[in-house]
């Protein structure tokens, strides 16, 4: 008799499967990035050509857009799996569900969070963000967006069984996103003024560590509730 895959093999297998699915559904996954770019490019048009004002509010604009883009994409973590019964099969897997959830959320971040990291420097430049703040912007996006996916996954897991869970999902998840928003924007503003940003970055890192280690368990439990 053959043996089941090791935990890390199962993790990579599911990660690769989700990335493959995302590749085959490119249009759906391009949505959040497109939204991110569109929202940010609309601000200079709406506010008029005042470079100082744009540079001042750039961190806020970029992070609010990132937050909303993340919200937009959250449902896709588990929705299609729930609809076609793959989620049930995942819950009945021989592997711990939390590890599989971790793989799915990582894949989700690679598809929806990572692209933001690539376009953010361009958009920051367009808004006139000072060059010394751009490194910090990237760092906050790199640390902050995975947290958005991890926290969001709990919300999606809780609402995936509801017919119209969208609004509840926003209400559940948005308040939990606020600390990320505050620390990230404050770090970028500090960097723009030439101050030290380590406090905010460490705080974000701490939140990320907590999110990676705790949310998969909560999400797994929530998924069991949603499917029962």
């Amino acid at each position: 008799m053959s043996h089941r895959l090791s935990l890390s093999q199962a993790f990579t297998f599911l990660l690769r499967r989700d990335l493959l699915l995302a590749m085959r559904n490119r249009a759906e996954y391009a949505n959040p990035v497109l939204f991110f770019i569109l929202v940010i490019t609309l601000f200079p048009l709406a506010l008029g050509p005042v470079p100082e004002l744009l540079a001042r509010i750039a961190p806020g604009i970029i992070w609010v857009a990132a937050l909303l883009a993340a919200m937009l994409s959250l449902d896709s973590i588990f929705r299609s799996d729930f609809d076609d019964g793959s989620l049930e099969q995942m819950l009945l897997s021989a592997h711990p569900v939390a590890v599989l959830v971790l793989a799915k959320v990582c894949a989700h971040w690679m598809v929806t969070g990572l692209p933001l990291l690539l376009v953010a420097p361009l958009l920051a430049g367009m808004l006139g963000m000072p060059a010394q703040a751009q490194g910090t912007l990237l760092l906050t996006i790199l640390i902050g967006t995975p947290v958005l996916s991890f926290i969001g996954s709990i919300g999606v897991a809780l609402t995936v069984g509801l017919p119209k869970g969208g609004i509840i999902l926003s209400l559940l998840v948005l308040p939990l996103y606020v600390p990320i928003l505050i620390f990230a924007t404050s770090a970028i503003e500090n960097a723009a003024s030439g101050f030290d940003v380590s406090a905010q970055i460490y705080m974000l890192l701490a939140i990320l560590c907590l999110a990676i280690s705790l949310t998969p368990w909560a999400t797994a439990a929530a998924l069991r509730m949603s499917t029962s």
Binding site: M1, R17, L20, L92, P96, T227
Partner: protein, 173 residues
């Protein structure tokens, strides 16, 4: 083999889902070899293959990719995947996207999980939905083979089952 019978809405699916651990029972507990399935968790799940109302296969993946996933989530059987597809008469569809299959073919692919993984207990909720007579006979043979190898099957079905030589326990809800 346990055949759960009952009218629509009598709780057949709920019972099956409780047995898999997906559903929660209002009272009582499910035991597997003397231990509750909550305690066993993965050790129980690896011995169970469940095919429910939903096929549990991804439309965007090909038949082979779907079976590989099923194998990765459980204990892979000794059978080659091409052989599995051959057994459920989907051999030429290995690289076809599931979205292009008919309902009956999807059902056959969902049931192919039974062959792709090595499990003792098969829990099947209306496995014959959308299947034609020839496919039904095919799976009845498959079930007979599983029972002969000391396997167990719990299933619901509105179709008549003909599995000569096998003891069939009926539970009416």
């Amino acid at each position: 083999m346990l055949l759960v019978e009952g009218a629509n809405g009598s709780g057949k699916t709920s019972l099956l889902r409780i047995l898999t651990g997906l559903g929660l029972a209002d009272s009582g507990e499910v035991l597997w070899r003397g231990e509750t399935i909550d305690r066993l968790a993965g050790d129980y799940f690896e011995q169970v293959t469940y095919v429910g109302h939903h096929d549990g296969i991804k439309r965007e993946l090909t038949c082979l990719e779907n079976l590989r996933l099923a194998r990765a989530m459980g204990i892979p059987s000794a059978l080659d995947l091409d052989e599995v597809l051959e057994r459920v008469k989907l051999y030429s569809y290995g690289d076809t996207d599931v979205a292009n299959l008919s309902a009956g073919q999807k059902r056959r692919l969902a049931l192919a999980r039974l062959l792709a993984t090595d499990s003792t207990l098969w829990i099947l909720d209306e496995p014959f939905t959308s299947l034609d007579k020839a496919s039904m006979a095919l799976f009845e043979d498959l079930f007979t083979g599983h029972l002969q190898q000391q396997g167990m099957i719990v299933m619901t079905s509105h179709h008549d089952i003909s599995m000569p030589g096998q003891s069939l326990l009926r539970l009416r809800l």
